[in-house]
C-alpha cells in the first residue's frame, strides 16, 4: 500500500487529475486525465481515449519519470487549497476493459516514489511529503 486512507479518500472525490510526462527534447507535456487508485498494486492507473496513440504514452515508454496531481479548491484561501502530487515511475500496461467501451484498455501505471500533499488529511492540515521505495508498489511483468 502506498497511499494513506485520507489520500485515497481525497483522490476518490476528484473526477480528474493532471499528468506530466517528459518528451524526447526534455520539454514536459501535461494533460487532464481520468484515473483510479489501484489498491492491490499500490499504483495510480491512468485511463484515456486512444491512449496507446498518445504522446504521453510514447513519452512514458521512453522516459518513465512522471508527476501526477489531483487538486481541489474549496475556498479562495490557503486553507481552501488542497492537492496531492505523486512523482514516480510509470509503465504502460493493459487494464480491465472499460464497460462503456469508450476508453482504451491501454493504461499508464504509476508507481509512486514521492508523495507530496497539502491540506489532504483533515486530521493533519498543511504540507507533508514522504518518499517510498519500489517495494512499496508491485511491478507486474
Amino acid at each position: 500500500m502506498t497511499l494513506t486512507d485520507a489520500e485515497q479518500r481525497f483522490m476518490a472525490r476528484q473526477a480528474r487529475g493532471h499528468l506530466a510526462t517528459v518528451g524526447p527534447d526534455g520539454t514536459p507535456q501535461v494533460k487532464p486525465l481520468g484515473f483510479t487508485y489501484n489498491a492491490v498494486l499500490g499504483t495510480i492507473d491512468i485511463y484515456g481515449y486512444q491512449m496507446a496513440e498518445s504522446a504521453k504514452y510514447r513519452n512514458v515508454r521512453a522516459n518513465p519519470h512522471v508527476a501526477f496531481v489531483v487538486d481541489e479548491v474549496t475556498a479562495p484561501t490557503m486553507e481552501g487549497a488542497h492537492f496531492l502530487e505523486i512523482r514516480g515511475d510509470a509503465e504502460t500496461a493493459v487494464g480491465p476493459q472499460d464497460p462503456t467501451g469508450h476508453l482504451s484498455p491501454d493504461i499508464i501505471r504509476i508507481h509512486p516514489r514521492r508523495v507530496i500533499s497539502f491540506n489532504v488529511d483533515p486530521a493533519h492540515p498543511g504540507f507533508a511529503a514522504r518518499d517510498m521505495t519500489p517495494a512499496d508498489s508491485t511491478e507486474v511483468a
Binding site: L19, A20, P28, Q29, V30, V66, D71
Partner: protein, 141 residues
C-alpha cells in the same frame, strides 16, 4: 500577431486555474496547480502567486527553482466539457515586479514579487478552435 488564436485568448481570459509542469534537477517532472494569466502586451502566459500566502511563496517554490534551472515547461488550462489548452514553451523567471504585473493584468489578487512568464513554442488545443473533441497542434516559434 499573437501566437494564440482569438478563441484561445478568449478561453485563457475566462479561466484562472492551470497546472504547470516543470522538470527538476533529478530529471523528475513536477506538477502544480497555479494561477495563469494572458499578457497581451508580451504575448506570453504569466504565472503569479498571491502575496497573501507570503512574500516568498513563489521564489521559494519548487516550480520557480525548476524553471530557473530548466526553462522548458508546459502549462495546461482545461475544463471538463472538455476544452483543453496546453502550452509548451520557455519560461523566464523574474525575481521582482510581480505587484506591477498583477495590477497591469487586472489580476484579482496582488502577486508576490517573483513571477514566471512563459513564451509559447507549441500550442495544443482541444474543443477550443473548432468542434468538440477537435484537436489542433502547432509550433508557434
Amino acid at each position: 500577431m499573437s501566437a494564440f488564436t482569438d478563441a484561445e485568448i478568449e478561453f485563457l481570459n475566462s479561466q484562472r486555474l492551470g497546472r504547470l509542469a516543470t522538470v527538476g534537477a533529478d530529471d523528475m517532472p513536477h506538477i502544480a496547480p497555479v494561477a495563469v494569466f494572458y499578457d497581451p502586451e508580451a504575448d506570453v502566459l504569466v504565472i503569479g502567486a498571491n502575496v497573501e500566502f507570503g512574500e516568498a511563496v513563489m521564489v521559494k517554490s519548487k516550480k520557480f527553482r525548476d524553471a530557473q534551472r530548466r526553462p522548458k515547461v508546459a502549462v495546461v488550462i482545461d475544463v471538463p466539457s472538455p476544452r483543453v489548452l496546453e502550452v509548451r514553451g520557455v519560461a523566464e523567471t523574474h525575481l521582482d515586479g510581480g505587484e506591477e504585473v498583477s495590477s497591469r493584468l487586472g489580476a484579482p489578487f496582488r502577486f508576490a514579487p517573483a513571477w514566471i512568464s512563459i513564451r509559447p513554442r507549441r500550442i495544443v488545443a482541444m474543443g477550443i478552435n473548432g468542434a468538440a473533441f477537435e484537436t489542433s497542434a502547432r509550433d508557434v516559434a
